[in-house]
Assembly symmetry: C2
Homo-oligomer: 188 residues x 2
């Protein structure tokens, strides 16, 4: 029996995306967002949504660029911190001992210690309501060699990414492999 | 040491969203997409991206409505099947013994046997490239009572949602709770 629980912004899983930007004075900043996802295969694009009140919103508007950093389980504390505190008041790279590295492709920084990074050029921005959606074209993906498999693709067991549960606002580990995609469905 | 792996559409985790629509003859259809995510808190909105060639693309353009169904682990075979086969050729509800239920709010069906459903009214569509992004306003969320906790919020341990890995194209289980959000970051 289904029960209505109201117009809530809940899907599972929701990602934990750490956005890297520079401000007008080229101070690097990090901010965590959960509203986002891949939105086009060609050109390869990813969408993230931000409130106008955030420091990162202004940085993206100014520099037309951002990185998306995916963290491993052992850095969940960092990810949560980047979502709680504003870059207006703190140097979040410094506070968490993360080294800002300027992308060679766009005017945005990523974290040297982060295992997986997307470098994005702002393609479009769209006002929706409380949030503005930024669509970034993915110009390159950089990953620590230690998390790559033989095909140079990220290995989930090594990367150990985690997700956010918008219902309880807790972080969850990624579990074991469940099934092969574009394969198990052929049994239907 | 970071290695460039090219401009790939990879983030972790990526959701597995089963989209419910009606065609012009009111035949219900299901299609799985991985390109999507919540995109605004107020109004509550979710974005999904589809290629023009899909049956669901035309259905959404016609009916201006869709549901998003989140499935449990035990239905991974269904989710994979809905992404492999086109509704042009098959009745995917019938083939998988899922009962189409017309939403009381929008002109779209959901699966009676699916545990968690978002009912969405098309708000905007945005051409990006190969994919068109549809932004839906979430009008209601309906969930099986068996997956709800005492606060009437979905309980991840009961829902058992799974994710898609765009790198290896495999499905992964959701793991255990890792940390409390808006909390563990305060230790920094």
């Amino acid at each position: 029996m289904k029960k209505s629980i109201g117009a809530k912004t809940i899907i599972f899983p929701t990602p934990v995306l750490v956005i890297g930007t520079y401000d007008t004075h080229n101070k690097p900043n990090l901010m965590t967002v959960a509203w986002g996802g891949i939105c086009c295969s060609a050109p390869p694009c990813v969408a993230i949504s931000l409130r106008k009140a955030t420091y990162t919103y202004n940085n993206i508007m100014e520099k037309k660029a951002f990185t998306i950093n995916i963290l491993s389980e052992d850095m969940v504390k960092n990810a949560d911190y980047y979502g709680i505190v504003s870059g207006k008041n703190e140097d979040k790279f410094l506070r968490t001992n993360i080294t800002p590295v300027k992308s060679d492709l766009i005017d945005a920084p990523y974290g040297k210690e982060f295992p997986f990074v997307l470098e994005c050029r702002l393609l479009k921005s769209l006002e929706i309501g409380l949030h503005t959606q930024f669509i970034g074209e993915i110009l390159d993906v950089k990953a620590e060699e230690s998390i790559l498999d033989k095909s140079s693709l990220p290995d989930m067991e090594r990367l150990k990414p985690f997700s956010f549960d918008p219902a309880t606002r807790n972080y969850f580990r990624t579990g074991k492999m469940l099934a092969k995609g574009f394969s198990i469905g052929r049994e239907v």
